[in-house]
Symmetry: C2
Subunit: 239 residues, 2 copies
Amino acid sequence: MAKQPLISMRPESKGLSYDRPAASQIFGFIRDAIISMELLPGQMISETALAQQFGVSRTPVREALIQLSNIGFVEVLPQRGTYVSKFSMEKILEARFIREALEVAVVTQLATNPDEAVRLEAVDACEKIIADQKTAAADDDALAFQKLDDNFHQTLAGFTQYPRVASFIEAEKAHMDRVRNLSLHVGGQYKRILSQHAAIIKAVKTGSAEKSAAAMSVHLKDVYNILEVIPQEHPEYFI
Amino acid sequence: MAKQPLISMRPESKGLSYDRPAASQIFGFIRDAIISMELLPGQMISETALAQQFGVSRTPVREALIQLSNIGFVEVLPQRGTYVSKFSMEKILEARFIREALEVAVVTQLATNPDEAVRLEAVDACEKIIADQKTAAADDDALAFQKLDDNFHQTLAGFTQYPRVASFIEAEKAHMDRVRNLSLHVGGQYKRILSQHAAIIKAVKTGSAEKSAAAMSVHLKDVYNILEVIPQEHPEYFI
DNA sequence: ATCCTACCTCTTGCATACTAGTGGGTCAAG
DNA sequence: CTTGACCCACTAGTATGCAAGAGGTAGGAT
């Protein structure tokens, strides 16, 4: 009996390209499928099934799954199976803690950067993003808005010149994006998010480390407020 | 011709235990060998050689190496070889940035913890460690001192109740420990480190987030000061 | 009806074999 | 002596097969 494919193969991604390691490509596919909730929390994803679907052997799939387990997206239970991680309040709060620590450090460093040109460059780049976000909000385009939100935080992190900082923030943010993709509450938050982003940039512009850090803190705490309702709406995805 | 073993097999660790995945054990062995500078920066470590040495196949070794490359300890060059990462100022400063961000957040959270009992418990635990460190310093036991230093920072992080925070801090600290193990400058720093640790705990005790964060910042910046001399002493290990 | 046991199937962990690409060394041509 | 082409040894990437353990199920004993 033919089983349902675990991951829908979109036209543009039917196969794997030959010029990059298969394991790395598979890692990306599965990660995206998990973030977009195509693979649901608690769902079993066996190495064999995925291998057949990608048309490769178990080896690269297995290596991809090991990496996914490192970033907490799947859990490998020896001799029992591999499962998409469920949400837990603790893990989400942990991700928030790590993210806030890093992002506060990012804006603090930026705000106190003695080279004012760099600061202005960052402010300019972020203000452009905020302008685009206003457009997305006016169009009620939640997806575009969320991508620009990503862009905003990644741009800020990029100015540290420390690539791993940006990638850590991205990884921790991804856990939250997963939760957020459970529902589209985002719509009602456009205005608050926009004003918070603007407040962060304004504080950076004035060069105040304290105000920048505080503004970022407020923003992140607010974003995670949807955790008050989501677990009740989807208890099946929480531990 | 028999080649030199890459990793010296100490008596207590001749073989792998059977009750834990081999890949995970091998990961630990290689990581420790890299931190202790038994495997030198720039050195090639082939999967085949390691596999023979551990008496296993390439598969678990390979999986261990993938994980080590994730935390920046080795670099895998396809079809060319796997190498122990060299130091670079950028990477070390990046590790410091991440570590400082996290550790500052840790003491901030602890200092502002409304439950005073928790704060006192943490203070007590850390003061015990400081006392032990004083003993180690008096005995000029650099190794014990360093382990207690680890213990100090891990204990603080443990009070966040977020295990990944502690493990991130440990990982970032490891990069610095590698550098530090290049030479034993540590001896001359006992007093400064001790007083800085004491200052951190004192600030936490008073419940001041700002003072705690500042004390931690000062401590970390100071620790990384040996970077002023090490690269000149061992340029061969730096990019 | 309930519990225990044997077994069968599925899982991941590991071993082995093969593929393809890189780089060095050799040797011949200029 | 220099340079270029070829070959060979070695590398990581992937495929495949086997081992060992977990868990469900059927069937028999109580």
